[in-house]
Symmetry: C2
Subunit: 213 residues, 2 copies
DNA sequence: TATCTCGGAATGAACATTCATTCCCCAACG
DNA sequence: CGTTGGGGAATGAATGTTCATTCCGAGATA
């Protein structure tokens, strides 16, 4: 019953700085980060169950055991990635959201921010899409998902109230937009080249025409 | 080296009718069908690697070994499902396609047929979407996919030539439409209730407004 | 030297697949 | 009409493999 190293708190954060004097967190973060990156890629390529933990270790350039110093289990790892990406995404997309702006502007902003983020992190986007609602996501991840969904729903509902969006189940409108967005990402990930900004604008225009009242 | 039963040819078809006099194929088909159905559901719920073969057997109400009388391997099983569904879907959606009709009509027809099929077989639709481009799909399945994609691309390109659809990469337009469609399906599978026809029409209208020139 | 992180072989559980056996159907026979 | 035997379908325990997780010795740090 001797307490094992606590994996939810990466070694360095728990102890005193074990790194170069200058408050340079990287020595610590590096491995954790490498693991997260490798796992993200592999989960996207092969799925959660299709990915073996030692594979993740190989790609991250660490030993298999090391993963368990940073994460309690494979499941904890996937949840960590999910939450980290979702949070990051949410912050970027919703930062300073112009609550009072016309819906047209709001939509353009959301779409373009999403496009930017997804262009820079296409794998991360696909990851979130893929793992959405999977049974290995824990309550905390689900709650996060719910919360973000709620934010978007509120925006949609209020825009509908102002008659700037078509009436209809908010779920439906959001499903269409998010689905289309994923479709766009896929259409470029599959070709393995990123969309140019003209294409993104075209897509934005198309979706707006779909949504507007 | 004694030849094992050939799994690609279900037992009954190879031998004399082993069933009730009346040319009733069901005794044979039943198990194969039950396996396909169970596997489809489980693959949708848990993914390919997340589903254990004996689980499939349980849900199908057969012994684990029986699956291997009908399919060479788990991989062969998933490919069989994929091809069967894709083919079925293609036939239904593209039957008597009105090549000369206005694009508006063509789109309405395609959308509504897809909606009907997906409403009747939501799991099948999600299955196809999920397994699309996975590495356990074999060349034959991929080729089928390509062929169907080609058909749709041709329709889009020719409609663009007639200036009835927006100009832009056909991949992009198709990605948006299919993505949005999946989004709609998801929005109702997740709520676990099927969309009513008004919602389907609304979605169709929205997407058409996105596409039209 | 004392402490702490790492790597990767070792471990036990779970899995896909196999195969010896059972079960079922029916035709032949008494 | 009841019994019996053959043949093939079905089964599920057994098999070898793969995997998530653990463990321990080796280095690094101080």
């Amino acid at each position: 019953m001797s307490p094992p190293p606590n994996p939810s708190q990466p070694p360095a954060r728990a102890s005193q700085p074990n790194l170069a004097k200058r408050g340079d967190k990287r020595v610590v973060t590096d491995k954790r980060e490498a693991i997260l990156d490798a796992a993200l890629e592999l989960f996207v390529e092969r799925g959660f169950f299709g990915t073996a933990v030692p594979e993740i270790a190989d790609r991250a350039g660490v030993g298999a055991g090391t993963i368990y110093r940073y994460f309690e289990s494979k499941e904890a790892l996937v949840n960590a990635i999910y939450r980290e990406q979702k949070t990051h995404w949410g912050k970027l997309v919703l930062a300073d959201f112009p609550v009072a702006a016309p819906t047209r502007e709001q939509f353009r902003l959301l779409w373009m921010r999403m496009a930017q983020w997804a262009t820079e992190n296409p794998k991360a986007f696909i990851f979130m899409e893929l793992h959405h609602h999977q049974r290995y996501l824990d309550d905390q991840s689900r709650a996060l998902e719910e919360r973000m969904l709620g934010l978007f729903t509120a925006v949609v509902v209020s825009a509908q109230a102002r008659r700037e969006l078509k009436a209809g189940p908010p779920q439906l409108l959001m499903g269409i937009v998010m689905g289309a967005f994923v479709g766009v990402i896929r259409s470029c990930v599959e070709i393995d080249q990123s969309l140019d900004s003209a294409d993104w604008k075209l897509a934005e225009q198309m979706l707006w025409e779909a949504l507007r009242a």
